[in-house]
């Protein structure tokens, strides 16, 4: 069945494949591993691929405590009324347009990062990761909360009847059963983060380079969608440059689809 869904997304896949084929012929696997992107000369997408994974990783590390803590507290300790409040807040947050996040990130977050860490420029991989973390918070909270709520109430009562405190009960009975759902939520959140364009584009610095050392995230970088957003308009139909961008699109597509498929499998997808 999973194979069939591949067939479904296949049209877009084939399209991207066809459009990007020339760059793979020209660059070979170097397209994915080298990071020299000089329009007209060579196309190595390494720095964008690195950047995409890096910002997604940072986003997750920063936001997971908030997302999971929030989900547990909302599902297990809040009254229905307050649950509804949190859920509504999350829905509103999820609705904030990417461009508004971008504007906030660019003119506030980047400034804070700059002064907070004593940098010359606040537009860094870290800034993008932080902003993305905020953006995927609602996705992860909402889906993990659903996973926690779907654990049947009898388990909770049994544990409480044995004399466990509420925290012990949640930790030892509810969370273990909700783990697959929570993992699913995280995968879908990662997919979201990986594909975000506008907000990242405005704060990541736009430098096609892997920082040295690679873990110095307080330098400017580039992600795949950000690169696409910057260059696609001028490159449409212009030979190898266009093919290379489509190669980036294809890479992004494959990564995000893998994440989303894995996520949906973990969630046994009943709802979006």
């Amino acid at each position: 069945m999973a194979a069939l869904s591949v067939v479904c997304a296949g049209t877009i896949f084939l399209y991207l494949l066809r459009e990007s084929a020339p760059v793979f012929f020209a660059e070979g696997s170097g397209f994915l591993t080298r990071s020299d992107w000089w329009v007209g000369e060579s196309y190595g997408a390494g720095s964008m691929i690195f950047g995409s994974f890096m910002v997604t990783g940072i986003a997750l590390i920063i936001i997971l405590p908030f997302a999971l803590g929030g989900a547990v507290f909302t599902s297990e300790f809040l009254s229905p009324r307050w649950r509804l409040v949190i859920k509504s807040v999350m829905e509103l947050l999820a609705g904030v347009p990417g461009i508004v996040y971008g504007l906030l990130g660019m003119s506030m977050l980047a400034v804070w990062v700059k002064s907070g860490f004593g940098l010359i420029d606040g537009n860094t991989i870290f800034t993008a990761g932080l902003l993305l973390g905020i953006m995927i918070l609602p996705t992860i909270i909402t889906l993990s909360e659903d996973a926690l709520r779907s654990v049947p109430g009898e388990y909770r009562e049994t544990a409480l009847a044995l004399g466990l405190t509420r925290i012990e009960m949640v930790w030892s009975t509810v969370i273990p059963q909700a783990v697959p759902g929570i993992i699913g939520a995280i995968f879908l959140g990662m997919g979201r983060a990986m594909g975000e364009t506008i907000a990242v584009m405005l704060v990541i610095g736009g430098l096609d380079k892997i920082p040295a050392p690679w873990f110095d995230v307080f330098q400017a970088g580039q992600s795949i969608p950000s690169k696409l957003g910057r260059e696609a308009a001028e490159a449409i139909g212009s030979g190898l440059h266009w093919n290379a961008l489509m190669g980036l699109g294809l890479t992004l597509f494959l990564v995000v689809m893998t994440l989303s498929m894995a996520g949906n499998m973990f969630l046994k997808r009943v709802r979006m």
Binding site: G95, G98, E168, A232, L252
Partner: protein
């Protein structure tokens, strides 16, 4: 004793972590209002922009955003309804259902920039609609399809079996059943889906920035083939190229309007859901 302390402190930490989400929303709202508020005025809302966005208002940008999102919803709605009806009423085949569901999920997870790229090549180049209002609507229509479809389908699946069976027992055929039982009992799902889909379309930038919009020049599209200015791309351009703080204030003002549109739509969907919940409990 120790267990109690653990319980209390754990709860405290969790509460703080949860509170952060609420704070974030307040912070975002507060910042946008604080920074965009000064830009607001009657002229800002109802005048054309001038001097590359440094002066004037955002009237045509707002109209452009509304046009794009309404067009997208209008195109998406019949497709979403058709898909939902097909899945719930017409096909028994589990394979077909699974394939369609997976397709919908894939569409929902797709990075929007890819909609922009592939959508432009498919509609703009292959179907020759160019960089235009029409291309933007079509791309956004595909993009919001999952939102509408899932909402409609959940509503249809929530229809009590007794209503279908009563319709059946009176000899209604498929079409009559759809017209008299299914649609009247699931319209709320349609409206909720449309509201959320509109909100999604209004907030989208990557998919339309090089497929449907221009920064300046055109005021209102004279035909399907013209591009439109939008709030999203207006903010983007001002944010990227702003040389003075006046332009940035205009960007914040536009962001405030955009956020307002999106939040209004989402809030209406809340209201609708709450009202229905109350009715269901009657």
């Amino acid at each position: 004793m120790k267990r109690e302390v653990v319980e209390k402190s754990a709860l405290g930490v969790l509460a703080i972590l949860t509170g952060t989400g609420v704070l974030l929303l307040l912070l975002i709202l507060g910042s946008v209002i604080w920074k965009g508020g000064p830009a607001l005025s009657w002229e800002f809302l109802f005048e054309a922009s001038s001097d590359f966005g440094n002066a004037g208002g955002i009237y045509y940008q707002t109209v452009g955003t509304l046009l794009l999102m309404l067009g997208a919803a209008l195109i998406s709605m019949p497709i979403a309804l058709g898909t939902a009806l097909y899945l719930t009423e017409y096909t028994q085949s589990e394979t077909v259902k699974k394939v369609l569901r997976n397709l919908i999920y894939s569409l929902n997870a797709m990075p929007t920039i890819l909609f922009g790229l592939v959508g432009y090549l498919f509609f703009g180049v292959f179907l020759n609609t160019g960089v235009s209002w029409l291309t933007g609507m079509l791309i956004l229509a595909v993009m919001i399809l999952p939102t509408l479809q899932v909402s409609i389908q959940e509503a249809i699946e929530g229809i009590p079996e007794k209503y279908r069976e009563t319709g059946m027992s009176l000899g209604l055929d498929h079409l009559a059943q759809v017209r008299s039982v299914i649609i009247p009992h699931s319209w709320h799902g349609m409206i909720t889906g449309v509201l959320l889909g509109l909100a999604r379309a209004a907030g989208e930038t990557a998919a339309i920035m090089f497929t449907a919009t221009t920064f300046s020049g055109i005021l209102l599209p004279q035909s399907w083939a013209d591009p439109v200015p939008t709030l999203q791309t207006h903010i983007l351009v001002l944010a990227q190229d702003a040389v003075n703080s006046a332009a940035l204030t205009k960007a914040w003002g536009a962001a405030l309007i955009l956020l307002f549109i999106v939040f209004i739509l989402i809030s209406f969907s809340f209201l609708l859901r709450e009202r229905l919940k109350m009715e269901a409990e009657l």
